[in-house]
């Protein structure tokens, strides 16, 4: 089995939201309600239990030559967000039931027949992706179309993307492709393109990488995502000291009290 990944190239995205729709249709994800956010054309807000692909709409300043036919128009930035399927996944590590597993394709999958809705994965995700559906009770997120991948198909969002902004394939191939694409974009004068691929953080890389223009922070991509297991050593050391102190202090209190 190959280790698969998404490469989302925001320089090719036209903001059509076909990925959001295809994902909802294939995975039978419930609706988000009719909420008018006022944040550009984005009315789904963020990834969550009922939004597994999310197109972000960034209205950049007026950039000569990038505002379409009218030079006064601002330039658009669109980027389709998705679960990062981390190499060291906070949700997977935190899950106490073993409901969250690593698939043979390298993705992170929540088994809906095992999850009991404890909600610990929600606070363990450094990207704020997984969320508990309060009505249903369980936690949900992108499945990386595990069912489709098993049948040799591409994920629904990648299959439907009309501009090939969402590419699906072997992780290493896509990384190479991304570097080539960035070279090409730079040669065309797009100096601010960069690859969002957090390999140098404790999540040790992801199975969803992104090409974005400008600061990835504009798209709420954290510069330093950390898997929360890095805090375990500190925590358990402190808990061991705390337990020891509890026993020692109580013993001291009772022995001292007897002498008094």
């Amino acid at each position: 089995m190959t280790v698969t990944a998404f490469l989302t190239d925001s320089t090719l995205c036209i903001g059509c939201k076909a990925c959001e729709v295809a994902c909802k249709e294939w995975n039978q994800v419930p609706g988000d309600g009719f909420i008018w956010s006022g944040n550009s054309y984005d009315n789904t807000g963020a990834l969550g239990h009922s939004t597994w692909r999310h197109v972000k709409f960034v209205e950049n300043g007026v950039t000569p030559g990038l505002g379409g036919n009218s030079p006064e128009a601002f330039s658009w930035g669109f980027s389709s967000d998705v679960c990062k399927h981390c190499e060291n996944a906070g949700c997977l590590e935190a899950c106490p039931t073993g409901a969250i597993v690593r698939t043979e394709f390298g993705g992170v999958f929540v088994q809906p027949d095992v999850c009991n809705g404890c909600g610990y994965c929600v606070v363990a995700c450094p990207f704020g992706v997984i969320e508990k559906d309060e009505q249903d009770g369980r936690a949900f997120k992108c499945t990386f179309c595990y069912d489709r991948q098993r049948d040799g198909l591409h994920p629904a969002c990648a299959s439907v993307c009309p501009t090939e902004s969402i590419k699906f394939g072997n992780l290493d191939d896509l990384r190479a492709e991304a570097h080539g694409r960035i070279e090409k974009l730079k040669s065309m004068g797009f100096d601010d393109v960069q690859l969002y691929d957090p390999v140098d953080s404790s999540v040790a890389g992801t199975h969803a990488i992104f090409i974005v223009r400008g600061d990835p922070g504009t798209y709420n991509m954290p510069p330093k995502p950390e898997v929360p297991t890095i805090y375990l050593r500190k925590g358990w050391t402190s808990a061991a000291i705390a337990s020891g102190l509890m026993l020692a202090a109580t013993l001291f209190a009772f022995l001292g009290g007897r002498r008094a």
Binding site: S37, G38, D42, A46, G48, V58, E59, T63, P64, G65, G67, P71, F74, E93, A94, C95, P96, T97, G98, V114, C115, N116, G117, C118, G119, V122, V123, C125, G128, K132, D133, E134, G137, R138, A139, D215, G217, T218, N220, P222, P228, T229, Y231, L232, K234, G235, S238, A239, I241, A242, L245, M246, L247, A249, T250, L251, A253, F254, G257, A260
Partner: protein, 352 residues
């Protein structure tokens, strides 16, 4: 548009020149337009930028735990510490009546705690899935197993002790009782402190920036609540007063360390509603009982009892408020997008 068409007959060289000229015109128009600042709409200031992130939307999801979870932190912490008091009061043989009440408090907490946890689950019917696997890297898994061992052993210890007092116990049962009491005390200490690890090992900044303090803090808080409840039950024991003194001293130190550390991630503990709750909880857990207990040393017997009872009630209330304060602070902290984008030091520089 009509201009190039008219010139078409003049030949292709001229046409390409015209195209270049037109392109230059467009470029100059675009440059002029770009120099004009983009129109600013007051009241509609939300936008996407590297400083504020994507429309100031939170990067992290806030905890979806209901009030059962902070209540469990209180209940479990109290029960665990009570089991420690029961075992040590029993072993040292200093106060059998106190040991009995502490065992009962631990047993009640050991029943209420799992009930609270199950009530908070999205699918309570699947609570047994917690015991499908044991994962050391998941504090929730370690905690579930420890709590199960704690609850069952504490209930067994309380039952066997009551049986022994009413009737008598055969030797194998007395060994069983001692073993249950020991396991109850050891797991109790873990139950009191692991909730700090659970909260610390998350993506929430205000929690993970206190990963080293939280287990100590929660253990002290549980200890203070257990001692306080036993004092309110009517035990006027110097040992319980000593526990009250030690824990209120510890809680004061935690409060001072929070106030003194200049980490932007700690902002939810110092400002807003979560800040107020933290400070109120901290005051009732730390300085207030500490002062009351110190005053009680010089007081007459009647006043001494009264002061210690007020200190005990204050510590119990403080412990409860503290658990809610930390949970609330976590929800506030999850919304701090600038902190996650720029790190603690830069976010601080930006705010001031």
């Amino acid at each position: 548009m009509s201009e190039p068409r008219q010139q078409k007959s003049d030949g292709p060289t001229n046409l390409s020149d015209l195209r270049e000229a037109r392109l230059e015109e467009i470029r100059q128009h675009a440059q002029r337009a770009a120099l004009q600042p983009a129109p600013k709409l007051d009241g509609l200031t939300l936008h996407a930028s590297p400083e504020t992130g994507y429309y100031e939307m939170p990067i992290l999801k806030k905890p979806q735990w209901k009030s059962e979870i902070p209540l469990y932190f209180f209940c479990g912490g109290t029960a665990g510490a009570s089991a420690v008091i029961a075992a040590i009061a029993g072993i040292t043989g200093s106060d059998e009546r106190l040991a009995r009440d502490a065992r009962a408090l631990a047993a009640i907490g050991g029943i209420v705690s799992p009930a609270l946890l199950i009530a908070d689950l999205g699918m309570p019917s699947r609570f047994l899935n917690m015991f499908r696997v044991f994962k050391f890297q998941s504090p929730m898994s370690v905690g579930s197993w420890t709590l199960m061992a704690f609850s069952s052993n504490t209930a067994a210890a309380a039952f066997l002790s009551t049986w022994q007092q009413r009737f008598s116990l055969a030797k194998p049962f007395r060994i069983l009782q001692t073993a249950a009491q020991l396991i109850s005390a050891l797991t109790g200490a873990v139950v009191s402190s692991y909730t700090g690890v659970l909260v610390g090992a998350t993506a929430i900044p205000v929690w993970n920036q206190n990963a080293a303090i939280l287990p100590l803090h929660f253990a002290a808080s549980g200890m203070a609540a257990a001692g306080g409840l036993l004092e309110l039950r009517g035990h006027n024991s110097p040992a319980l007063n000593a526990i009250g003194l030690i824990t209120s001293l510890g809680e004061s130190a935690v409060g001072v360390s929070i106030e003194l550390r200049k980490n932007h991630a700690l902002k939810p503990l110092k400002s807003g509603s979560s800040g107020w709750l933290t400070r109120i909880g901290g005051f009732f857990s730390g300085p207030l009982p500490l002062i009351l207990r110190l005053l009680s040393f010089g007081a007459a017997s009647n006043r001494k009892k009264k002061l210690r009872k007020i200190a005990a009630a204050s510590a119990v209330a403080g412990s409860l408020a503290t658990r809610f304060a930390w949970t609330h602070a976590g929800s506030v902290s999850a919304k701090d997008t600038p902190l996650l984008l720029h790190g603690a030091s830069n976010a601080l520089a930006q705010k001031h």
